[in-house]
Symmetry: C2
DNA sequence: TATATTTATGGAAGCGCTTCCATCTGTTCA
DNA sequence: TGAACAGATGGAAGCGCTTCCATAAATATA
C-alpha cells in the first residue's frame, strides 16, 4: 500500500539500514548513495511512519500540556509561547484543556502511558500529591507553570512582590486609605497578594486593617471572577463614608476589577477620580478597560516552560529548578496617575 | 524494564493473545481468565505502550487542529468544544497554533505523515489548493471550520445572512442612513458581510451607496483589527455632515468596532446616541464594550467539527457535507435599542 | 607486501502491540 | 455414539521503523 523503507531500499538498490541512515542524516553514508536514496524518496513521495519511528526509537517527539480553559487569555498567551518553542524543536503539542481537577488527573494518568509523550506541562493548578511518585518513578519530565512543587521544575510569578509593587504605586500617588479586594484565601495567589499588600502598607507606616480587605467567594474560581469583584466593591462602597474613607483599592485580579468597575459605575463612583484602582494579571480586557495592573509575562513563561522541559529531557537528574517572574506595573488610567500619552497602551 | 504483555502473559499463565484480548474487551475470553489477567495487570501496574498499539492497530486516536492564534477568543471557545468532544471519544488533540499561512502549510504536511493523526481540522483559513489532492489521495479525513472547500466537510457561518440581520436591526430602529465599516474585500467574510448589508438596505428600498462603505486595510488581518476600525470611523466622521448624515454603522467585526468606538469617543461622538453600532462575532470584549453584535456559536462549531471528523472516519466515502450556522443577534447598548435589563449580558 | 584502520553498507533483531489461524475442549443434536 | 459446531486459547506473523553487528571495500601505516 504505502511506501516503506523496504520499497525505498529495493528501488535504490541499497539496504534498509542505509536508507534509514540517509533519512536520519547519519554521517557514515557516502554522498552518492545519499543522493540516490533521496531521489527515490522524492520520486515515491515517501512519508515516514510516525508510530513505527516512535516504537523503534523510543521517542515520541510529543509533549502534553494540561491547562485550565478558564485561564482564558493566559491560556492563549502562554500557549503561543509553548507552541512557538515546540515548533522550533520539532515537537508536537497535545493539548489537554480541562475545567476541573478530576479532568486534570485523568490527563495526568494518560500522559503517563508509556510511549505517549516525552514530557508534560501542568498549568495553574495544584499538582495532586499522588502523582509525584508516579512521575518520578517513570522519570517522565514534568514542568509546573504558574504553580509550584519542590520536586519538579517550576515557573511561577512573584505574587507577593507584585502586590507590593502595586500597593506602593498607590501609596506613591498619595493614597493612604487603601483597601484590597481579594479572592478566597484558600488559594496561594490570594494569600501572597494579600501579604504583599500588607508589606507595602507597613513599610509606609500604615497599619494593615482586616476590615479593609474585602473577600467574596461567590461564583467560580474561588472568587477570581467578575461577580465576586462586583460584590466586594459594593460592600466596600456601602460603608465608605467619613473622614478616613478609602480612596484607592488594590484588586487581586483583572477579572475582579472588571466587576468592581461595574459596581462602582452603578453607584456613581468615578474611577479614578473618586477611587483609584490597581489590579493584577493584565489580561486583554485590562487594556480596553484602561486598568492599571501588574503584568505577568505569559508568552515568556510559555517559552521558558518548554526550555525547562527540554533541559530536563537531556538531563533527567539534577535538582529541580524554580524560576519566578517579577510582574511589571502597567500604568493606565484606573490609578489616576498622569501618564505620557505614548505610554498608553 | 517496563511491563509488557509478555510479562503479563507469563505471570497470569496465559498466552499473549489472551492478554491482548482481555485488554481490548474482546468477547471470547472466559470470565475467570479475564479476572486473572486483570488482576495481574493491576498488580504489575501495567501501562500499554501507545506507539506499539498504534503501529499494530494502524490507528492513532489522535487528531490535529490547525488554528490561527489571532482568532483569540474564537480560538478558545471553539477549542473547548473540540476538546470536550475529543475527550468523549478518547482522542488526543494535537494543537498547531499558527500565525501565518506558511506555518499552516508546514503543519498540513506534518499531519499528512503516515501514522501521525487520524484526522485534521483546519480553521479560519483558506485551504491551499495543493493540499486538496494530497488529502484525498491518502484519504485522511479533513474538516474545515469557519472555512469552506467543496471537496471537504465544512462548517461555516452565514456571513451574508448575519449581515442582513444586523442591518435589518438598524433599519428597524428607524435608521435610514446606515454606513458600513468593512475589511479587505479580498477576504470572503468581508465580501459576504457587505453583500448582506446591501441586501437588507435594498429590501428596505434604500439604495446601496459605495461611498457609505469605509474600508481600511491598515494593520494585520486584512483590516480586521482595531486600528483599521478606528481609521475607518475617523474617515466616516470626517465627512459626516449635512442633512443625510449617517446615524448608524454596521461594522464587519467586533475588533474593528472596538477601534471605531475609540475613534468616535475621541471626536466626541456618542454611541449610541449620535451613532448606533452593530458589529459581528461576539468576542469576549463585545460584552464588556456593550456591543450589539452577531454571535457565532463557537463552542457548537467545535463540537460539530469533531462529529463530522468522526463521521468521516467511519465512512470515508460519501459526499462532503456543508453545515452553516446562522449567527444570532445579541442586543446590547451600542445599537441604542431599548432592552429589558435581564437581557443584558 | 602485509597489516591495521577507517568508511560504507547489508540486514537481522528488536521495539510492544494486534490479529489471524490452528488447535483444543466441551456442548448440542440427531 | 458420533458429527457438527461454538467457545477459549496459544502463539506466529506482521506493523515499519532504528540500531547494532558483521562484513566488505578503501585507505593508511609499517
Amino acid at each position: 500500500m504505502s511506501v516503506t523503507i523496504y520499497d525505498l531500499a529495493r528501488e535504490a538498490g541499497v539496504g534498509i539500514g542505509t536508507v534509514s541512515r540517509c533519512l536520519n542524516n547519519h554521517p557514515s553514508v557516502s554522498v552518492e548513495t545519499r543522493a540516490k536514496v533521496l531521489e527515490v524518496v522524492k520520486r515515491l513521495s515517501y512519508q515516514p511512519h510516525a508510530s513505527a519511528q516512535r516504537l523503534a526509537s523510543k521517542k515520541t517527539n510529543t509533549i502534553s500540556a494540561i491547562i485550565p480553559f478558564f485561564t482564558n487569555y493566559f491560556f492563549i498567551q502562554v500557549l503561543q509561547g509553548v507552541q512557538d518553542k515546540a515548533a522550533e524543536f520539532g515537537f508536537d503539542l497535545i493539548l489537554y484543556g480541562v475545567n476541573n481537577t478530576s479532568q486534570a488527573e485523568y490527563y495526568l494518568r494518560r500522559s503517563l502511558h508509556r510511549g505517549h509523550v516525552d514530557g508534560v506541562m501542568f498549568f495553574s493548578m495544584k499538582l495532586p500529591e499522588s502523582y509525584v511518585a508516579k512521575f518520578q518513578q517513570i522519570r517522565l519530565p514534568l514542568v509546573l507553570v504558574d504553580a509550584y512543587h519542590p520536586e519538579f521544575d517550576s515557573i511561577s510569578v512573584k505574587n507577593l512582590e507584585g502586590a507590593t509593587m502595586a500597593t506602593r504605586h498607590l501609596l506613591k500617588l498619595g493614597h493612604t486609605n487603601i483597601a484590597m479586594i481579594n479572592a478566597s484565601l484558600a488559594t496561594e495567589p490570594a494569600r501572597d497578594r494579600m501579604e504583599g499588600y500588607r508589606i507595602a502598607l507597613e513599610e509606609a507606616g500604615i497599619p494593615f486593617r482586616n476590615d479593609r480587605v474585602f473577600i467574596s467567594e461567590i461564583g467560580k474560581q474561588d472568587g477570581f471572577n467578575r461577580e465576586a469583584g462586583r460584590a466586594s466593591m459594593e460592600e466596600l462602597l456601602g460603608k465608605n463614608t467619613g473622614r478616613d474613607r478609602v480612596t484607592a483599592v488594590f484588586i487581586a485580579s483583572d477579572v475582579q476589577a472588571m466587576g468592581a468597575l461595574e459596581g462602582a459605575a452603578e453607584l456613581g463612583v468615578r474611577v479614578p477620580d473618586d477611587l483609584a484602582i490597581v489590579s493584577f494579571d493584565d489580561i486583554e480586557l485590562a487594556q480596553h478597560a484602561q486598568l492599571t495592573t501588574m503584568r505577568q509575562p505569559m508568552y515568556e513563561m510559555g517559552v521558558l516552560a518548554l526550555e525547562k522541559l527540554f533541559a530536563r529531557m537531556k538531563n533527567p537528574d539534577g535538582a529541580p529548578s524554580l524560576t519566578t517572574f517579577l510582574p511589571s506595573l502597567i500604568i493606565r488610567r484606573s490609578c489616576g496617575a498622569r501618564i505620557p500619552t505614548e505610554q498608553l497602551v
